[in-house]
Subunit: 540 residues, 2 copies
């Protein structure tokens, strides 16, 4: 006899299985064997997709919309191409929680009709397939957030963000996996299992928007939607050779997300985009949403229009080589040096960025994640009696051992405000516009191993926008040997000991660019220029 | 032997007494006797001020700045005129906690030198005297917020808002009184005592910015600065025949204010202006501050520029006659009818506004004031052993009997968000741009009697901007008799029973106009037009 949580897990699995469009399932014998770790190139090697389908799925959202506007592509063929690739991706990576193929194709046909009748696109995201993390509500579908206890919860409405994206023409075709508790930088739960990284299936696609990371890496969608309160958009993007953006809080509407501690305003998560092709697509996403003035529905938002900001070389970038707590692994340092050289060659002013009290920042943010000593999360886990996964235990112990009083919570809020002000003032006084830094201590960690959050979480506590993009480099044992190093602390030692280049072979190396509070537009503009320079797409 | 709190009180009194510019003190025998209740016209009747001084002190900040820009007035004579009037006002009303005459005059002289040398004003508030509520920090001066325990606390810096105002040319000449705990709509503490209303010295000037109310009513400054988390700017303005503005939270910088529950972000107070002459001056104040982009220092602010919005008759005003809980006293209803007629005559669309769940709003906001069961406040009171005033006890019992858990606090936050969204959606669906409503259940209450906050607090919980202005009417026993009325509840009965027109003879009747969240500019523009129409300054 199954335990209650197993019954719930089975429901989630059934929903997933029944939703997979069977016509595009690949027979097992045509799939790479489980011990083939690098599968990112399988669409090309397998011959399962046509040349046109490969082209479509490797085209940016910006270009797809342009092509649809010129009648070169139909929305239907676009979504079908991505669906086919997504089904293969799911078979290899287990990244989906539910496909929405019929509805997506029907919507694409509507868009095509609209275009045929009017000669016009319906909006700036006309026909763009977007994958969506499961805990972002879609009317009539599950809203479990990786918790067995919540599998029967059905969304009454689409999340506000999806409503705006839908109006802009987006097509939602697949929902994606997330870890138990939504608080791992990894992607495993008791419902639909563990999502894998296509660059190396022993590695994590990151989390908590791990399904989105895999979706982007495998090009199952040009754009995806994740949420991020400690790195949950950026870590998956970085681990998967993709692009991701943490906006300043209170810019994108979060109404319609399910999570255990809604109402905790001490540390705000953000909802934002991932992209498989470019920073430009992240900008397209943001523009499409904020141009609709979402603050008129979600009045918790700041009524700040999405400004048009052009990339400029007139900026100063501070490179943070190390956060003063945990030394980045050699590949990350190599990618930062590579970026430094490229930027300097391109004539951009680059200085070193000395980190400011990142350990203090972590103390604040980690307490504010779970001021109730994670009682909320533990209650939901206990409700279904589901096993608590190691990374869940890991995260839940961040909080205080006993619940904070409201007064203690206020004091942390004040500390947070002071820290934010000091950091902001420091960027101004040092004349640094953006901080280029690691996205994580290393590249994609081995499954189950991501323990150190503070290369991403620091920008959450500071509420500064941050974009992640690939450096174009991958781990190379010949270049990324283990140097002599005396760790500064037990945490530093734990992370350093994980490193051996062979463990991460083939993993892409992502970088992160953080801007000032509410300078979202400038941050994306700078990240576009920087990523193009670093990737060699743009010269001085 | 004195108790500790008495020692502290004596210090506060000494600071006040020593600060009063002795040259302008009026001998007691030239002052109205204590039983003369209406003293608002004393400056005119007494002959103590010159015609020019009377003119200066009854001129708007906007006009004063214009006159100084044309060399018709010097900043020095302006501040001296207001100081003289303020000293008299203080003798009659006990509204000050400290004069800053020397510093103010020195600053005015600097401004005059600047003007003489450059032919230019230093900024949009050049030479405008502004009175400041005591709990807003001024470097080197007390920062006690009406608490005996805090009398020795000295501000390390000027509050951020004062820094911006100072850069714009403002001159701070007097600090003003506030009630114990800062949570009365009245103005009495154990330090410098009780502030009186110049229209009737048996009545309250309101609170908590009660010293500011008196300052405005007596024209001790053209502009004042208060803070408001439940009506503390608007009640004093309304009770004192003046103008006041509650901006949307996170627009004006609050850093540098002292209060017991800083860090409680569930219900945010706002800092904002009062004015003795016009809504236009409130706008001037806001523009002068926000044009300096205060979000670059106080990064808790929304980076929303101060938009230039012109008054327009193309708007719909909903009149809320009653909040569904406590019936306004007859003078208030008469003033609303008066306004309705004037607005209709002027061609403005006026409809009735049905209140939406104001009791529910009060339940949320009153719990969020003191989620720690007011332990913070009681600890500060106990620290000095000072007697707890009845209105302090009254306010502190609003909160829960035992401290909320952080989780319970989160649930209230969520209820608050839902309530805000619903109210906002309702204004849109009903096509109402502004709600014209009472500022309070009645006019200025008898000292010690203000108990019902929800005509103002409702806009705090909703975080909607609201402006208060005089209707031009005063209580008239001939017009404002007590009609037959069957109260709906004990609270309604308590407030109704207070009413007898004779008790409020001569009191001005204020009105309140609330706008939508973040529509501060539109709210002030509309309030300017509405107040001019209601006061007969502008016709259709």
């Amino acid at each position: 006899m199954s335990a209650y949580w197993q019954v719930q897990a089975r429901k989630a699995q059934d929903i997933l299985q029944q939703s997979i469009p069977k016509q595009w399932l690949i027979p097992t014998d045509k799939l790479p064997s489980a011990d083939e770790l690098h599968v990112e190139d399988f669409p090309h090697k397998s011959g399962l997709l046509t040349e046109r389908e490969l082209n479509i799925t490797e085209t940016s959202a910006t270009s797809l919309v342009k092509d649809m506007g010129e009648g070169k592509l139909s929305a239907e063929e676009v979504v079908v191409a991505f669906l086919k690739r997504a089904v293969i991706g799911h078979q290899l990576l287990n990244f989906a929680t539910e496909f929405m193929a019929e509805k997506a194709i029907a919507r694409a046909k509507e868009l095509d009709r609209h275009y045929k009748e009017t000669g016009k696109l319906i909006g700036p995201l006309h026909g763009v397939p977007i994958s969506v993390k499961e805990h972002i509500g879609i009317k009539g579908l599950t809203l479990h957030g990786g918790y067995a206890a919540w599998v029967d919860d059905i969304a009454a409405d689409d999340a506000i963000l999806l409503q705006y994206l839908g109006k802009a023409g987006a097509v939602f075709h697949v929902r994606t996996n997330q870890p138990q508790s939504l608080m791992h930088l990894c992607c495993s739960n008791n419902l639909t299992g563990t999502t894998l990284n296509p660059y190396n299936r022993k590695l994590s696609p990151g989390g908590s928007s791990g399904g989105e990371g895999a979706s982007m890496a495998f090009k199952c969608a040009p754009l995806g939607i994740g949420t991020d309160i400690g790195g949950s958009i950026r870590a998956p993007a970085a681990f998967c050779g993709a692009y991701g953006f943490l906006p300043t809080a209170r810019r994108n509407p979060c109404i319609g997300i399910k999570a255990p501690s809604l109402g905790n305003e001490s540390i705000l998560g953000a909802i934002g985009p991932l992209a498989s092709q470019s920073i430009e697509d992240l900008n397209l996403f943001q523009r499409a949403v904020i141009d609709q003035e979402p603050w008129d529905i979600d009045i918790s938002l700041a009524p700040v229009p999405w400004r048009r900001v052009k990339p400029t070389k007139e900026m100063t970038i501070g490179i943070m080589w190390d956060d003063g707590c945990v030394r980045p692994h050699p590949p990350v340092t190599r990618a930062l040096k590579h970026a430094q050289e490229k930027l300097q060659t391109a004539g951009i002013k680059v200085v070193d960025w000395e980190p400011y009290k990142h350990a203090h920042g972590w103390e604040i943010v980690s307490s504010l994640y779970f001021p109730d000593a994670a009682a909320s999360q533990r209650a939901i886990l206990a409700q279904a009696g589901e096993p608590i996964l190691p990374l869940t235990e890991w995260a839940l112990q961040y909080g205080p051992k006993t619940p904070l009083t409201v007064r203690e919570n206020w004091e942390l809020n004040l500390q947070r405000e002071v820290y934010r002000s000091e950091y902001h003032a420091l960027m101004k006084s040092r004349g640094v516009d953006f901080v280029l830094c690691p996205s994580y201590v290393g590249v994609a960690p081995v499954l189950g191993e991501p323990h150190y959050w503070n290369y991403t979480a620091i920008w959450n506590i500071l509420d500064q926008p941050a974009a992640v993009f690939p450096s174009g480099l991958t781990v190379d044992p010949a270049l990324d040997a283990v140097p002599e190093y005396q760790p500064r602390s037990a945490v530093d030692e734990r992370e350093w000991k994980n490193y051996a280049p062979e463990r991460y072979a083939g993993a892409p190396i992502g970088l992160q660019l953080a801007g000032k509070h509410f300078k979202d537009e400038e941050t994306l503009a700078a990240a576009e220029l920087v990523s193009n320079i670093v990737l060699g797409k743009e010269n001085a």
